[in-house]
Amino acid sequence: MDTTICAISTAVGTGAISIIRVSGKEAISIVNSVFSGVDLTKVNTHTIHYGFIVEEDNKIDEVLITLMKSPKTYTTEDTVEINCHGGISTTNKVLEILLNKGCKLAEPGEFTKRAFLNGRIDLLKAEAISDLINSETEKARKLAINQIEGKLSKKIEYIRKNLIQIQASIEVNIDYPEYDDIEVITNQNLIPNLNKILFDLNELIFESENGRIIKNGIDVVILGKPNVGKSSILNTLLEEEKAIVTNIPGTTRDIIEGKINLNGILLNVIDTAGLRQTSDFVEKIGVQKSINVSEKADLIIYVIDNTTANLAGDIKKITNLNNKKLIIFINKDDMSSKNKYDKFNKYNVVMGNTISTNGLDKLKNKIVEMFNIKYLDTKDFSYLSSARQISLAKKAKNAIENAINNLNEGISIDMVTIDIKECYETLGEIIGAVYQDDLIDELFSRFCLGK
């Protein structure tokens, strides 16, 4: 981190102004050497200056310079931000000049990496900033902001504090065995306390699954036999003609994706090739793909044509979809039908059509209901939302479950403390309180350029 780094930190191609951020020991002197205006090495910290970026006396761009001296900056290093006004090609030119003067182009996530390594932010905040940059909906943005504010860290610190107290009461018993005036730790007083921790962890994990949905959206896969109207449903949901619709069975051969915003939650809707035995080579691959994507889906919408004569094949396919969240959508409810759907009573069944967008209202309402989307809307967001965090939380939960089971099986307390300690340390890993060798590089490789 001897080097001074720079990068365009606004999204490329959008907006009238682009900002180039420069951070490092020589940030001020390098920018000063290409700036015509006041002498930047002599101004106060946290001030803004008007002038031009120049190259060999040629004015390249009219800029505003924001100058911030160490340590009160994002990276804690000297930082200069150049507001460029001349459009993207001029901004690129300014960047090039800085690189020629000895700046290094920032690697993805390098500003945040420096902020983390300089002790400015904790690991969880660093992850949250990456999330914030990539967030596609307002809710995801709020979730990321709450993490930056450290709500999640506080929640985990609270659980860790309780664990430490439990551990301390056990240790006193072990290290001072002869004193009968210390409360003796028994399963009767230990297990309820551990159950409380388990409850807190379960709650955290449960909420975190919601956090994941807020962040990543819900993956919805539309399945069904050929020509039941799957692509029409996708098009109606997206309100655009994304999939080619014909009355020829097998028209959709690949998977087609679209995104819709449902009450602030992103639905990643995937239309698939109809499920049937086929000799067409391309369609065969499509059918296999349909099966593959449905395995990873958060929700499957299984479409049945109201006018179909035979439900036997559908019943069989639906039975195979166990363990998945499922809505059976009976399409074409505007057409008459002799079918009875009481066989599907144990499933979520919704009727509708794709004649107008209103024909899918019931379907949308069902999704909102199934994923508590209204509830997510009002809930205080402080969830674990990266896969790394959730898997660590689950590991911590397993450790506590082991502790409880082992106590019930009569395993001695000196062993069980190992489980309790594991839980404590695993939670520490989530918030970066424990040093993890390989984690940092992996984490920062995910960051986008600029931040």
Partner: protein
């Protein structure tokens, strides 16, 4: 007395005895300097050796070839295993050691050493040339030269004995204190700490009414600290200790006289240990507690003194009289010695390398209370390591640095030299993150090989260790090979399995993993050989039953060792490592950790600092690799 020795040890307490012993055993000419030869291996406080964690330290000392375990085995009159109910990883021995016999036996052992000279004298100053120790100056200005010096001065540096408002400038038992040595160390750059400890009253045995007091017995199974000797005591003829409690009257006396206590009147400058508070401390800090437990422990079979464990105080004499008489059973007790607090100088242990050599002066070692610890066992463990490392250095060999996953002694020293201490440091099992591995039963398996390599463990002892290792492996194999099926399962085993039909067979190894089975069951059923001794069975059963936890611990240890392998070059300039927090940088400069693992344990050095350090090392040093 000659005017030149290889190694000089200053102080004849538990650290000094072990240090002199091992250095002499390794064929160096050693002088042990003490102010009073009758105080060699003195036990100025509690009459016991061992206790949680400490008992395991004594086993470790024995495994490495030190003396404490053997002397304790010869001199105690009661012994028991603590924490039997809390599990095998935290069991520890504690013995009531006879205060008369223990020092006698120790002196006898030291006198057997031909190249050890015991000198009665006071040391005024050390002689340093070119940052290396070359000798000492005695009170009478006489100079004795040496190649290495080990300071084990206990509580004698500038000590004050405090009772009420009285301050006596003396060491324990009215002994002479050392006035100038700590000042002279300070002049040479050592930061001096002021610490405090205390000891309770001694009561005349026959003046106590035992009729309503609960007795405490020794265990009825034979126990020894040492791996080499059979039990030497009569199991059925152990002395008793008794339990009593503070009364409401005791609490009232304390509260009424609090300002008279040396601790509360402002006379005490030293920092006492939180885990070993005086009785006034306990009553003030835990005001809601109705009573505090006290133990009445005989000091010796040959004196009539009883020690009141848990009742140390610095109240004036008249208040002490009232306090003692407020205790049930001690209404008419006669006080033979009053309780007192003692303040003394110690050096900041952050000045030490993990070898216990000081960073400031080459070939100068310190061990025991001078390093800020408390306890006979902690002192002995350090004395042993200082003695070994002073010797190894003179032999041009690498020092013995025990890791945290190898021994409690390693945990103790690493804590001291990495974290430092502001109060007298006591070992606790909770300080050891791998205590599952640091057990009472396997101290020899962990450490004897080091003792053998160094030359403190002889061939016979070493062969015994190898035999033990082989026996454990034999037993494990036997349990794995022997399978029980429908045909050969004994009924009493089948009953326990609780399966109507044995669908598949089980190896005995698999059955031992179940809580309801013990190896002894299979020996009784004649399913396996009966040749194995109890200690073999105990360790083997542990290894099988807790295999899952053991493996988990080894996984953690592997992670630690990976960081231990990342050495930090001695010439590192922390000012060149960018972006370390100021506090972290100061601590790293002061402590100079040898490895990344040690750096992670320094309080004030955060994970981000470690990342920076690793990045710096990769950048600066990887080209040379």
């Amino acid at each position: 007395m000659k005017n030149k020795y290889d190694i000089i040890v200053v102080g004849g307490g538990h650290a000094g005895c072990e240090a002199s012993y091992v250095a002499s055993k390794l064929n160096f000419n050693v002088a042990l300097i003490t102010s009073n030869i009758n105080n060699i291996a003195d036990m100025p406080c509690n009459p016991s050796i061992g206790g949680t964690a400490k008992g395991i330290v004594v086993r470790e000392i024995d495994a490495l070839g030190g003396l404490m375990g053997k002397i304790a085995d010869r001199s105690h009159f009661q012994i028991k295993m603590l924490n039997n109910s809390k599990g095998p990883a935290v069991r520890s021995l504690r013995a009531q050691a006879d205060k008369k016999i223990y020092p006698q036996e120790m002196l006898k052992e030291l006198k057997k050493l031909k190249n050890l000279t015991i000198i009665e004298a006071m040391v005024e100053d050390i002689i340093v040339n070119d940052n290396t120790i070359t000798g000492i100056i005695l009170e009478n200005n006489k100079v004795i030269n040496c190649k290495s010096l080990i300071l084990t001065t206990g509580t004698y540096l500038k000590s004050h004995v405090l009772v009420g408002s009285e301050i006596k400038k003396e060491g324990p038992h009215g002994e002479r204190r050392s006035l100038n040595l700590s000042d002279n160390l300070k002049k040479r750059g050592f930061e001096i700490l002021r610490l405090k400890t205390g000891t309770p009253q001694r009561i005349e045995k026959n003046s106590i009414d035992y009729s309503n007091l609960k007795p405490e017995y020794g265990d009825l199974t034979p126990l020894t600290f040492s791996f080499d000797n059979p039990p030497l005591y009569d199991i059925n003829n152990q002395e008793l200790c008794y339990v009593t409690y503070t009364s409401p009257e005791t609490h009232k006396i304390i509260n009424d006289n609090l300002e008279k206590s040396a601790m509360y009147s402002g006379n005490v400058k030293g920092v006492g240990a939180r885990y070993c508070p005086s009785i006034e401390d306990k009553i003030v800090r835990f005001a809601d507690k109705e009573r505090h437990q006290l133990f009445l422990e005989p000091e010796s079979k040959f004196t009539n003194e009883i020690y009141i464990q848990g009742f140390s105080t610095s109240m004036p004499y008249d208040v002490q009289e009232k306090l003692v008489h407020s205790l049930p059973g001690l209404e008419k007790a006669k006080i033979l010695k009053y309780a007192y607090a003692i303040e003394y100088d110690a050096i900041n242990p952050l000045h030490l390398k993990p070898s216990l050599e000081t960073k400031i002066i080459n070939n100068l070692y310190t061990a025991g209370q001078i390093n800020g610890t408390s306890g006979y066992e902690e002192a002995a463990g350090q004395g042993l390591i200082a003695g070994i490392n002073a010797s190894l250095k003179l032999q041009n060999k690498e020092p013995l640095i025990l890791k945290r996953n190898e021994s409690y002694i390693g945990v103790l020293i690493d804590d001291l030299v990495t974290k430092g201490t502001i109060e007298p440091y006591r070992l606790l099992t909770s300080r050891a993150e791998y205590r599952l591995i640091l057990r009472h039963d396997n101290a020899d398996l962990r450490l004897r090989k080091y003792g053998y390599e160094i030359g403190l463990i002889n061939k016979i002892q070493y062969n015994k260790l190898i035999k033990k290792e082989n026996s454990i492996n034999d037993l494990i194999n036997e349990l794995k090979i022997k399978r029980l099926s429908k045909k050969n399962i004994p009924l009493n085993v089948l009953d326990k399995i609780k399966e109507k039909q044995l669908t598949s067979g089980y190896s005995l190894y698999e059955l031992i993993k179940r809580p309801e089975f013990k190896i002894i069951d299979f020996i009784n059923n004649k399913l396996i050989n009966s040749k194995y001794s109890n200690d073999i069975i105990e360790t083997t059963e542990f290894l099988i039953k807790y295999e899952g936890y053991i493996n988990k611990t080894y996984k953690d240890i592997k992670r630690l060792l990976k960081l231990e392998e990342k050495q930090i070059p001695k010439d590192i300039d922390y000012d060149k490592v960018k972006n370390i927090a100021t506090e972290g940088r100061q601590k790293l400069k002061q402590i100079k950790p040898l490895t990344i693992a040690q750096a992670t344990r320094i309080s004030g050095v955060n994970p981000a600092d470690i990342s920076m350090l690793i990045i710096y090392l990769k950048k600066e040093y990887s080209n040379n690799e």
